[in-house]
Structure formats: structure tokens, C-alpha cells
Amino acid sequence: MSTSNTCVYLCSGCGIGNAVSMDGLKNVVESEFKKSCTIHDYLCGDEGLGLIRSDIVKGINQMVVAACSPRAMADRFRFNGVQVIRANLREQVVWSHPENEEDTQMMAEDNVRMAVTEAGKSTAPEPQLEGDNSEVIMVVGGGHSGLTAAYEAAKTGYDVLLVERATHLGGMARKWSKRMPTDPPYKNPQPNTVENLIESVSNDPRITVKMGCTVAKTSGMPGRFIVDFSDGSSQTVGAVVVATGWRPYDAGKLNHLGYGISSDVVTNVELEEMLTEGRIARPSDGKIPEVVVFVQCAGSRDRDHLPYCSSVCCGVSIKQALQLREAHPDVMIYIIYEELRTPGVAEEFYRTSQRAGVIFLKGKVQKIDSSLGITVQDAFLQQEVPLKGVEMVVLATGMVPNSTNIDKEAQFLDEEKLKLLNSDVNHYAPIKVAGAAAEPITLSAETLPAGESILNLQYRQGPHLPMLAHGFPDSHYICFPYETRRSGVYVAGPVRRPMDMGEAAEDATGAAMKAIQAIRAAARGIALHPRAGDLSIPHINLNPCTKCRRCTVECPFGAIDETEQGFPSVNATRCRRCGTCMGACPVRTISFTNYTVDMIGSMIKAVHIPDEMEEKPRILALVCENDAYPALDMVGIARLSFSAYVRIIPVRCLGSVNLLLVSDALSVGYDGVILMGCKPGDDYQCHFMKGSGIAQERLSKVSETLKSMALEAERVLMAEVSIADSAALPKVIQSFVKVLESVGPNPFKGF
């Protein structure tokens, strides 16, 4: 470790100098830490930065900037080869607390103390580059999404390997006669362009197509995945896009809707095949049907079948109705829907069909008998309506994701891996079904979807991509679409969520872009989002390691494998630098060069704890840097105020909080500890997917630790904070302060 030459800069601009005594802060740095200290009234201005640069020339390689929030001016305070540590004086001290008060001054001084302590325990990380990287993107699935991903990736200059299990490209999209509109004025069905796409992909010199082939095994990490194929070949690829698409829901399970009872009940996929052939005839006698009924939500949004909405079936039925009308203008078409879902511009499409005279009935089909007599519970007329004289029924069935290859047997998994995987396959995600069920649906079977894993990942956490119920891959759905919980593996198209061809093309393009990002990040040794650009890597000192395997089990991204001896081994480019392993380790042997349990522990101890007589409690807030910390900044920006007894330390994720820190804090005299992080659970907002959930689970066991210290359980609180919660945060903090007041001061003070 190179020795640090540290300088501290105090900025008195933005009202900091008016609210706190800068000399007091300077005194803290110089007398307590013996570091050189400079005060400037406009540090991020050219003059202030010039001052810093002249010091860099003199040889400083680490600096503490006590000014605004680390989230502000990050680009101004970035200097090559110099580690910058920020102390937040502006948003979280002077903007959110009264000027020139003793408590505000104490808070500012403690913030400076914590930052200078942090500097002493932290060194700038070096990039770790090992092995040769591949820049090839492997796309699994040669349907519309896969073709688009391959085409778009090749267009940016990357080589693509396209793997398709069938012997032809095009997938489901090849069966479609026309597609839903994606171009203005969005009023009529558009020609299916998948054949053109197949041609451009086949002719692209950058794209290698492997047909009739599946992935047998994938090992390695982003930048160097080693992929074995079913034909015995092997290749190293940089990133993977999974676009395995979907299959229609098994209509054989829909006997109550007449499928299998009458041959004139067909699915929308079967009708689409008729339309593609150009011969519309009902199966029983080959007659052109004069009255056609479309039944929406056939086996969808239904407790007993697919509980979710596939979002495209309404549009598909409208498209098929228009095509039927075009082929035979006299055909009568009824569409029986529960809720007609025509998102976005599909509304225009809906209007076209209304204008064309398609009749829409809102209601739920109760029964379809063998002579096509339909009983509808009509929602508008509020009565049961019999429909007679129907000549063909089309069931609009939903989409099932191809998250496994159902053509092949599932791999054998030992019991432990199976258990681990099942804990990832979330069967308890509550899905509310509008109009179908008042209670959220929970599935009871704890099993993986049938079939072979698509990538067969050779990861310690098993071969599958972690999935939600119904086989959709788990990801931070809103912030990071295309993402999976395996770095460098991206999903696109209907395997991610039900979608139409237009959406799938956008999805595939996005996933191709993410794959390129993964390859580039791997080459530079930097992290993917949300800590994009981070160079630090968890370092595991194996001497104290007890092989407890918590880090390998808890890593949300499966980044840590186990060696044959049972020791953890980090796969650098799989790592997203959340620090969940660091929080998990019971012997504190996992650390980053700029983020360690010892570092946070020292920061906690750097705060001056007033003794009991002063009646100034101290509360430690360990705050998630993704959402909760910016929300606290916004409290200051909005000039709201929160208790000045709180000392705030940002953490990478609540998952990186080692419980030893909580007991450390209480033993040095803090009256309480509050952990602020993202929402855990099924509808999580955690940026590392499982981090805050793991923190919550760990914290549920903290009361035993508190009991052994003869402390009250109320002293530790975990608060769910979203980025929009800034207005409510002061109240959350205030109520915690009140609780601590009623509990009384920490008896460990002064020890």
C-alpha cells in the first residue's frame, strides 16, 4: 500500500461559512488529525480548483473535500491519480439545520472527522485485468428478438454468434401473416418483415449463425464466458443475450372454453396460421365462418391458469378481426373481453376495428358447449347472455416464457443446489388479478419450470438465471430492464415479459447495447451499473476464512464460486461491487481497498459521543447510497430539517452492512442505529436486487445480540426509503428520536 499524502479542503461557499464556524472545523482537522487544511469560499470555482491542482503538483494523492454532497460537483472534484473523499456539509448539515447553533456545528465537525477517518482507512483501487477477453456477443434464440439483437449488435461493429435450436431462423414470428402497427398512423396491420430480417442477418459477415444447436454449458464471466455447444464445439464469448422467446399457453387445459370439445374452437396462433396460408375455413367442415367470436383472456388472468396479462392478445385479436373482415367483409365478429388492453398507440388500432364494425362485449365467458353455444356473464347488461349461431370461436391465449428448454430433460441438480435455486425462483410474488381475484395469487408449488436450463451456467448458485414466478427472469424491472441477476447475461423479448414484435425489437436493441457495455466494462475492469465505473474488487483474505459459505450463497449475482477446498473465489467481472459479501462475512475478512468493515467501524468511532449529562443523543444512520442518501440530500435541498443528533454514513447497499457494525456502534455509546435502504421483498426496489432483503433478514436476528448486551430492541430500526420519500424522512427520523428518548440514553456511554 502506497503511503497517502492527504490534504483537507473546506469550502465555505453555498452558505456553509455563514452557518458553521470554519475555524472550528479547521481546528478539528489540524489538532485532532494533524493534517494540512485549506479553507476556500468557492472551491468548485476555477480559482478553488486551481488551488487544488497546485497542491496535486506538490504531491498530494488523496484529499478530503468537505463541501457539498458527494452527489454534486462529482465531475469538478475528479482528478487523475488522486483519491477524493467527500464530507457532506451543505445538503445534510447547513441546508437542513439552523445556522450557528451548537448542534449544527457538532454535526459538521463529526462529518469532517468521519471523512478524514475514512481517508485514513481507504486507498484508491487499481484495475484488475486478467486473462484474454472476447468481444463476441452470443445471442441465444433466432426469433424476431434474437435476430434484432444480432443485427443491431453487428451494426455497431461487434461480432455476433447466433444460436438457434430449430433448423431455421425466424421463430414464432415466421408464422405471422401480418403484425400489429408500429409505424404512424398506427391504424392498420403492417406486413411482417421478419423474412427481411432473416436475410440481413444471414448475409451479415459479422454474424455467425449456429442452427439446430443448443448451449450445453456456460462457464466463466463477462468478457470471457466459455460456452460449450450441443454439437461439441466450444467458443469464448464476451456477453450473452438470451432471446428465447415464448410459447403459447397450452389450450388443452381450456376445456371449459370448448377447446378439444369442438374442433371449431381454435387458438389465436392456429387462426394466425390460417391467415398466413390465406385459407380461412372452420376446421369441422371447411366452411368460411360467418359469425366468429374471439374470447379474450382465455387462460390468462385466471387463478387456475396464467395469473398474469400477456398484454398483446387484445391487439392480436383486433388484428385478426380486421384481417378476417378484409378477407370476408360479411363476417360478423364479436370480441368478448374482460378489460380491453390496448396500451399506447394500440388505441388507434382499437378504433379502426370499431369503425370496421367489430362488436365488443365486456364480460366473462362462462362456458362454451360442443355446438358453440356461448354463455357470457355480460358486465354491461349485468346478466347472463346466451350467444347462439356462432360458427367459430378463437381463444386468445397468453404467452409463456421460454426460460427453460422444454424439449429437453432438466439437468440433475443435487439437493443443495435445488434448494438454493428454489429460493431464487420466487413463487410467492403476489400477483393481483384485476377483476378475477380479490386476493393476490400465490403459487404453492416450489419447483423450477420443467425442462433444461438454457445456458446451464456453471455457477456455484446453479445453472439457471434467477427467476420470478412463472419463469420470468428476476431483474430490477424499472431501473434496469434487460438485466438479469447474472452479470453479462441479458434477456430480451417475450422471455422477459409478454410483448409484441415492436416492443421486442426495442428490447433486443437495448439488450444488445447492454451486452456491448458489459464487454467494454470487462475489458477495463470496471463495474456495471449501478456502481458503473467502480474499480474496486472484493478481496478475501483466506487465512481467517471459516468456509462458512455465506458470501457464496448470498451474493445476489452469483459472483463468488467455491474452490475444491471450499474456499470462496471471486469472479471479478461478475461482481457488481455491492458489498453484500462483506456484510455477510462473520469474520470480516472480505474487504475492498476503499470500503471495509474496519473503515466504517472507524468512522463510527470517530464521532464524538457527548456524555449522558449533556442530553445530546447520537443516532447512527447507515444510509443506502442509491436512493436513501439522495433522498436525505433532497431534504436539505427542500430546506426541510431533521434531527441534528443523526450521524450519516453512506453505504453501498444495506446488504453490505455487517451486523458487527451495529453492535460496535451501540457499544461505543450511540443511542440508536437506523438503517435506511430500499424496499425489500417481492416488489423490491433494491438496486442490487437482494441486498436490502438480506439486510432485513440479518436484522431480524439482531435483537438477540442486543439482548446479550442488555439493550432494548427498539434501538435498531430499518426504514424503507425510496428516492421520492424526502418529504417524509424528517418525520421518520423524528419518530425514531422520540422512541429513543422514551427508551433512555445508552448505558454504554462513556465506556
Binding site: Y350, F360, V385, P386, L387
Partner: protein, 205 residues
């Protein structure tokens, strides 16, 4: 009853809906109705109607002709045109209700004979046909005494406070009703209008 429009025989028989589509002014826009209910929701009398416009339109589609033409929805419309202004699909709701009311009259539905609004309209029509103007006193009297002398007297007495109030502030004039100078011209217009009405409309506005 003398049916002009077809009477559907089963649910979702579209014969009546198609007739409305073709013969009712604005009826062709009915196909665009997406049952959002903005019309019934914005109707100041929506709560007093048995069905309201949204359901009426669905019933037309469902082939429930008798129920539609017997409903009081057609007669409770006060022509505020809230529904017409607010309809996201440009369905001329109030116009369609008025025309359906006319159909109910022509086909002799009972509701048309007993609806108070229809009785009032009769007085209104009587007045403008004679004078070319509506004389409020005469229209009211016509409306009151339509069902016989006894019920007319009863209604008259029930409204006497209002009448006396008007009298006090000089809003109830005595003397002959005002009449139009060119009554013959008006009669010509009305004759022409009756002729046009008798012709089957060709859909569309």
C-alpha cells in the same frame, strides 16, 4: 304497435343496432362507443335515469329494442350537451337520445305517451305552430290541462306560489300572446321539415 325499426329476436342480434346506425342522425358513431361511461357520469340527470346513455347504447348493441324505447332515459335528457362535449369518441349522445325518443313516439311506446317531457313538448309545439313563438302562460296551461280539467286544476294550484311571485315582480304579463310577423313563412318551413323527417335518413351527419 306499429314497428318501423326491426325487433330483434335474440341477444346481440344486431338488426336494431344496424337500423339505428343507418337511420338515426349520428347513429353511425355508436359503433365507436367504448363504454367508458363519461356520458352517464357527466349527465346532471344521470342518477334519475333508469339506464343512462352508456347502458342505453350497450342495450342497442345487445338488441334490447323494447327496453331501450320504453326507458325513461330518452325522456329525462335536458339537452345540456355535457355528454356531447365530453365524449372521447365524438358520439353525439344527446342527439341520439332525442332521435330515439322520436322513434319511441312514432312506434307508439307507452313511455312516450306518459312521459311528462313529451306532454310539455306537445304544448311547446302547439304554441309555436300557432303563434310562431312560445307563450309561457299558454304552454304551461296546455301542459297542465292535457290530462283533464281536475288534474290541470291541481297542478295549477300546486304552482300558484311561483305564479304569484312572477306576478309581483311583473314577469307575468296580461294581454294577447305575441306572435310572429311572418307566420306564413314559418309554416312553410315547418311543412318542409315534416317532409324531410318523413324520409328515411341516410346515416351520417
Amino acid at each position: 304497435m306499429t314497428y318501423i325499426s326491426p325487433l330483434p329476436t335474440r341477444k346481440y342480434d344486431l338488426s336494431f343496432a344496424r337500423w339505428v346506425h343507418r337511420h338515426i342522425d349520428g347513429g353511425d358513431r355508436l359503433a365507436m362507443c367504448m363504454q367508458c361511461g363519461v356520458c352517464s357520469g357527466s349527465c346532471p340527470l344521470g342518477t334519475t335515469m333508469d339506464n343512462g346513455p352508456r347502458k342505453t347504447f350497450m342495450m342497442i348493441r345487445a338488441g334490447m329494442k323494447d327496453e331501450v324505447l320504453q326507458s325513461d332515459t330518452l325522456w329525462n335528457c335536458v339537452s345540456c350537451y355535457n355528454c356531447v362535449v365530453r365524449c372521447p369518441r365524438d358520439v353525439p349522445v344527446a342527439y341520439i337520445l332525442h332521435e330515439l325518443a322520436t322513434v319511441a313516439v312514432r312506434e307508439g311506446y307507452a313511455q312516450a305517451r306518459t312521459a311528462e317531457t313529451n306532454k310539455f313538448v306537445k304544448g311547446f309545439t302547439w304554441s309555436y305552430k300557432i303563434f310562431g313563438r312560445t307563450d309561457e302562460r299558454l304552454v304551461s296551461l296546455f301542459y297542465y290541462f292535457q290530462d283533464g280539467f281536475a288534474s290541470g286544476l291541481k297542478k295549477l294550484l300546486a304552482f300558484r306560489h311561483i305564479a304569484l311571485g312572477f306576478l309581483k315582480v311583473g314577469r307575468l304579463p296580461f294581454g294577447m300572446p305575441h306572435s310572429l310577423r311572418h307566420r306564413r313563412e314559418l309554416r312553410k318551413i315547418l311543412t318542409a321539415a315534416t317532409k324531410i323527417e318523413a324520409q328515411p335518413a341516410k346515416g351520417g351527419r
